[in-house]
Amino acid sequence: MNLRNMCLKMFVLIFAVVMAAGFSATAGAAEVKVGALNDMTGATSDVGKDYALGIAEAIHYANDNGGVNGKQIKLYQFDYGYRVPEALTKYKLFKRLGAVAVLGWGTGDTEALSPTVTKDKMPYVSASYSGHLTDPAKTPYNLFAATDYSSNARAAITAWFDEKWPKHKDYGKRKPRFVCSYMFASPYCSAPIKAIKDQAAILGFDIGPDQDVSLFAIDTKSQVLAMKDFKPDLVWHGNTTMSVAATVRDAYALGLGADHIVNNWGFDENLPRLAGKASENVMGAAVCAFYGENVPMMDKVVAYGQKYNPGVLKEKRLVRTIQGWANVLALWEALKRADKSGGLSGENILKKGFETMENYDIGLNVPPLTYTATDHRVAGKVPIYEIADGNIKLLKVVDLKTRWPDKWAKEWIGW
């Protein structure tokens, strides 16, 4: 038998085994199945890897603590490489496997799946905190345990306006100037733009032309030079940490002279590591505690991190792990509540699980969770942090709900 024939026969044999395994039944008993879509290799993998670790570790924690009223959670976790077609197929696979809920990732795929999720009544707890997903009238089954991008951006701009602008030499002489820097093509980055410009208009900013910066950017000098023409006082960054660090560094090197605020997925422990001095005074909203902070539940997060992924050093971990934990803990609580109140159908998980939470505290500095049948924004209070001497410190908590009650209640939901 020659090598070619042998290879061919081996291939046929392996393929037959794979096909047989593929078509075989995958059902298991007394398990609650949950699907997870994560990005380990795609455009947002710089933050996606840690989030994925957090998801898996938090599911272990939930299972070690009784699972869903005695039933273990079975996690199907896939890397979809930030590709929308892959996400669509994987979601259908989760359904086929009998998943009762999905832990999703990106804004593009979450929004593309939203009507399907609604039709299927599948609770979809994603890492996309897009404001578009907070209006239950349009996207009832989309949820997340964090304040949304739009609220975060509104709060961050307000915090800068309250704290930084009065100290500026031109305060009282002219309007503050403001530009946005983000990847236009990315739904994640562009999701809060309308809300940001609305907030900037409310506070009386002059708004300059947006700058398109790729999520893969490592050199952003041309965009920074374009910003320089406008002479902004404040730049909002909508990308993830790698490209935000590149932009902040270039802005520092070219002497832009503006302050910076960064969207949630661009603001983490890696930003000062990557941008060094340039990251001083950069502001951002964090939706939970940073890794290793002294807050309730953090001991569990650290312990499970060391137990299940000892190769990833504690010092290298990011806030993303905590974000993963937050979404899992919220879903876990919803599953337990729904299970006690009639079963784990999608509608029960939403109505008797999530929407029964009122100021439910999961620890980890996550704002107390409140989901109502008319509003899936978890909270109106947003803590804004600042990098000082390489460390991330709380600057101010902005309470959007109290400061603009009418707008919060009637206008701002869903965008």
Binding site: M19, G22, Y76, F78, G81, S186
Partner: protein, 366 residues
């Protein structure tokens, strides 16, 4: 000359018979069976997951068909085809959401079908624009000029301008009920599947017939030797641009079809990687073969899904296996291309032909 093996004593009596698609009753029966499987068997046998996988196969076939025509039949190497899919998708979406269609057309569900045709023409025109350099350059240089389509169309025109129309989350969210063909609202995987299968059959028919026409002969002549083709009196530039138009046209149909499977589109849906993927599809399926386009698409989508399902039972023992599967998939893509280039350079289509020959000639295959 026909490539079909005819049973002993059966022979053609005129050119029409020789050009017939299905030349024997056995082949006709096989094709009827295939249509029954496609239109009845699969829709009733497959669940939502498998339908979604098949829809992706269809999308890949529609995307790769244009690439096959350009590379496989006209010798024009392209690496920017995703851009023409994007043009199709955006044109169709914008027409549905923004164009003031007469109420009658909307009521009759004709807006989307008409938008597909317009999107296809628009993509065809864009493709011709980026095919213009083919009059002067070829090979490696043409790859670069076609790649420019991705950067100019997707990264610049669509991202900076087109996707800004109507504001974020409005123009390019496709609310349920907007994609309608006649009285049918395309709102589930089964309806998308039926639309996909009809479009694939239509496009394959168009391309196969074109290849049997004067244009098809000219394309093959250009592919084999463009100087000889010119000497023979073929207007090389005209036929190259015609190939770009047809490829773009089908790409536009693919893009316009894809929006029926989505609720929202963004430029992120049409990455440059997709162009490379489509070239991989035809390399594995077989360059210069319509069968190859279909086999390549099935291989790249279905086989990978099966591989994934195959490893799922192992995930209990090796929990990270599922998470790392995309790495395996990416590696399998690269490995498959290398392996095919070495062991099966004519792709799956050639192997398919060999298998058919084996049965046709058995037991006298020597």
């Amino acid at each position: 000359m026909s490539t079909t093996f005819l049973p002993c004593g059966v022979y053609h009596q005129n050119y029409a018979q020789e050009h017939g698609w299905w030349q024997t009753r056995f082949i006709k029966a096989k094709m009827i069976l295939l249509f029954v499987v496609l239109f009845v068997g699969i829709p009733f046998g497959a669940d939502s997951y498998w339908l979604s996988v098949y829809n992706q196969v269809g999308y890949t076939i529609l995307g790769a068909l244009g690439v096959q025509l350009l590379i496989g039949f006209c010798g024009q190497v392209t690496l920017g085809h995703a851009a023409f899919l994007a043009v199709g998708a955006y044109t169709s979406t914008l027409l549905i959401l923004e164009f003031p269609w007469p109420q009658l057309l909307i009521k009759w569900g004709l807006a989307y079908p008409l938008s597909i045709i317009i999107a296809a023409v628009m993509s065809g025109i864009c493709s011709v624009l980026f095919g213009l350099p083919s009059a002067r350059v070829k090979g490696f240089y043409l790859i670069l000029t076609t790649m420019a389509a991705q950067f100019i169309i997707v990264d610049f025109i669509i991202t900076q301008y087109v996707s800004q129309i109507g504001g974020r989350g409005q123009a390019f969210s496709l609310p349920p009920g907007t994609i309608k063909v006649g009285p049918w609202v395309i709102d589930n995987d089964l309806k998308v599947y039926y639309m996909m299968i009809v479009l694939v059959i239509l496009c394959v028919t168009i391309v196969v017939n074109l290849l049997r026409s004067r244009a098809g002969r000219a394309w093959v002549a250009i592919r084999d030797n463009d100087i000889s083709a010119e000497v023979m009196g073929i207007n090389v530039v005209k036929y190259k641009l015609l190939a770009f138009f047809v490829a773009g046209f089908i790409g536009g149909i693919a893009g316009a079809f894809w929006i029926s499977n989505l609720a929202a589109i963004s430029p992120e849906h049409f990455p440059w990687f997709w162009s490379l993927w489509l070239v991989g599809v035809i390399l594995i399926g077989g360059v210069g073969s319509i069968h190859g386009t279909i086999f390549g698409s099935i291989f790249m989508v279905v086989v990978m899904e099966l591989l994934q399902l195959g490893i799922m039972p192992l995930a209990d023992t090796y929990p990270k296996l599922l998470m790392d599967f995309l790495f395996i998939k990416e590696a399998a893509f690269g490995l498959a291309i290398c392996a095919f280039m070495i062991f099966e350079p004519y792709g799956l289509a050639y192997r398919w032909g060999q298998i058919k020959n084996y049965f046709n000639l058995w037991p006298f295959s020597y």
